[in-house]
């Protein structure tokens, strides 16, 4: 009897329950779920293959160094110039600016929600912050174009309101809900015993939050920031509408920029099918994909590392 039970347990541990009447159904469900999981992996693989098939031919005639370090983006002039350095610079500074604004704002909001706000207020505020994530990006773009741009022109003396600052603000606006929501979850998951112990030792509330709770939730907050950044770098509509679209390396925050997604979105429709310009746009897609993947890997790494520390 005991032996049988033990065998059952071992089978369970291996993921193979003993065959009974319900086990066929279980097996089917397990296969279905497995297939669903395989599907998303398959899609990812297909997208990567497609990106490479359409993007790599760009390098038949174009040296890779010229592609990455070239300063001039004139895809349709004769001869065409495909230097994407200004586009990479545009994407990088826009993402950095947006993160510099959104990370403190998002994390501080999360701290306020978990550590300070009374739970009734928290219940009201959290859905609203998450609702912010539901605003379509085209609406945020329109807001930046019609409301923020004139303000930057009239009160800040910018030559054009469609610039780096405007794009950074709008992207920050979009990534705050992601950063706040994920950080809040991880702060909330910090065991109350930690706080209580800290307070019992005579630490103030601020010391507890800063020295105990935040470090304990570090991995979650790190993941939140990376997710927010990958959202910023991949966002297309907003930068297409408010970044200005000039392929230059920005020197001031009032300079217009042309981030990579904006260039792809603006030009792909008119680029001759499977011409050089078309291939180069897909190559930019590969670069963009590499950046987002990098952010995600870093996020994963932070989570893994901290889990090990916690264990």
């Amino acid at each position: 009897m005991q032996m049988q039970q033990a065998n059952g347990l071992i089978n369970k541990a291996k993921g193979r329950p003993p065959r009974t009447a319900g086990s066929l159904r279980e097996a089917i469900i397990r296969r279905l779920l497995g297939a669903a999981a395989a599907c998303s992996l398959l899609f990812l693989a297909l997208i990567v293959i497609f990106l490479c098939l359409e993007g790599l031919p760009a390098f038949q005639h174009l040296p890779i160094s010229e592609f990455f370090l070239g300063m001039d983006w004139y895809p349709t002039s004769e001869p065409a110039e495909f230097g994407i350095f200004p586009l990479i610079a545009g994407s990088a500074v826009v993402t950095l600016l947006a993160s510099a604004l959104a990370i403190p704002l998002g994390v501080m909001t999360a701290v306020w929600l978990t550590e300070i706000a009374p739970s009734s207020l928290r219940r009201i505020c959290k859905p609203f912050i998450e609702l912010l994530a539901a605003i379509p990006s085209v609406v945020i773009g329109l807001f930046g174009m019609v409301v923020i741009a004139p303000i930057l022109q009239n009160y800040f003396g910018a030559d054009t309101g469609l610039n780096l600052l405007n794009a950074g603000l709008m992207l920050a606006f979009m990534s705050v809900p992601t950063i706040c929501s994920v950080s809040e979850d991880s702060l909330y998951a910090v065991p109350p015993a930690l706080r209580e112990a800290s307070l019992a030792l005579g630490a103030t509330r601020w010391q507890t939050t800063w020295r105990v709770v935040l470090p304990a939730a570090f991995s979650g907050i790190g993941t939140a920031c990376m997710l927010g950044m990958s959202r910023s770098i991949g966002e297309t509509m907003v930068v297409l509408m408010v970044a200005g679209g000039a392929g230059i390396i920005p020197i001031s925050i009032f300079d217009p920029v042309r981030p990579m997604p904006a260039a792809i979105a603006a030009e792909i429709a008119e680029a001759p099918f499977q011409g050089e310009h078309y291939y180069v746009l897909f190559a930019i897609g590969i670069v963009l994909f590499a950046f987002t993947m990098l952010f995600n890997i870093i996020a994963q790494h932070i989570t893994e590392n901290n889990k090990r520390v916690a264990d």
């Binding site: 001039d72 349709t76 002039s77 004139p150 030559d159 297409l240 392929g247 230059i248 042309r258 008119e270």
Partner: protein
């Protein structure tokens, strides 16, 4: 991309419909200039609805590619935003193809500024210097002491191509120019920024912006048609010899003031026959 996808879907639908009606539907392949493409897209849809026996297959690719395809017998109608070159004509003759020209519309651009800007007239040379970056302050043109904010269209658009050809004449538009995806966006930006200059198709002029004159010449439909406006050019389609059957139907449709010429107006160009 989306546009292209939509097109594929549209043609699949239309194609399958045509097969159901008559297996002998004639297919006319149209290819060439992206400047003429919007006209052909709008007119083509209505044309196919009116002529179920003819199916159009329309693609872009540029004027040069369109004429090349006509010369190689790969398309029946080539769209072009420029006249055919001698070399291209000869190349066609060698293949037994006799390219015949039909002007279907006039494309005219207007340089525009904000109503608050005192500047009202610029020369082609001044426009070129502004766009290439040689002139960067309105003061140099007799205006306020303000930086010039240059607005241009995306490098892939037909409007950009026209501007590059008629104004820039081989010089590059400066990298600082704000590249916008539509005539509407250019006009919106210029209407809200007193330092901005832009250019739009004649059909997109509205009250919130001011069209510049060029050395006293005013750009409008009339001056575009009589070719006195320097920023205008004719848009053509080329066929092999005198058009017949489906091709003739299409050309007649395009030139009909109540049909194809309406599509010309809708696309922001100047109709050639009234």
């Amino acid at each position: 991309m989306l546009k292209r996808l939509l097109f594929v879907c549209m043609f699949c639908l239309l194609g399958s419909g045509a097969f159901a009606q008559a297996a002998a539907a004639e297919e006319v392949i149209v290819s060439g200039s992206t400047t003429v493409l919007p006209v052909m897209q709008v007119a083509g849809e209505a044309f196919m609805a009116a002529n179920p026996d003819v199916t159009l297959s329309i693609s872009g690719g540029g004027s040069g590619n369109g004429i090349k395809a006509l010369n190689e017998g790969l398309c029946a109608v080539a769209m072009s935003s420029r006249d055919i070159k001698e070399s291209e004509l000869a190349e066609g003759k060698a293949n037994g193809i006799n390219a015949t020209r039909f002007a279907i519309a006039v494309d005219a651009l207007l340089p525009i500024v904000n109503p608050e800007n005192p500047i009202r007239d610029l020369s082609a040379q001044q426009l070129r210097d502004i766009y290439s970056g040689k002139i960067s302050n309105w003061k140099e043109l007799g205006g306020k002491d303000e930086n010039i904010v240059v607005i241009s269209r995306d490098t892939s658009s037909g409007t950009y191509e026209t501007w590059a050809e008629l104004i820039m004449k081989g010089e590059k538009i400066q990298a600082r120019a704000l590249l916008q995806t539509s005539n509407g966006a250019v006009s919106q930006i210029v209407s809200t920024n007193s330092k901005a200059i832009g250019y739009i198709g004649l059909g997109y002029l509205n009250d919130s912006i001011v069209a510049l004159t060029m050395e006293g010449k005013v750009g409008n439909a009339e001056t575009a048609l009589n070719k006195s406006w320097p920023l205008s050019r004719e848009l053509y389609v080329f066929t092999n010899g005198e058009p017949k059957d489906g091709v003739k139907k299409l050309i007649d449709y395009l030139l009909d003031p109540r049909k194809g010429q309406k599509a010309v107006l809708e696309s922001g160009y100047v109709p050639i026959s009234k």
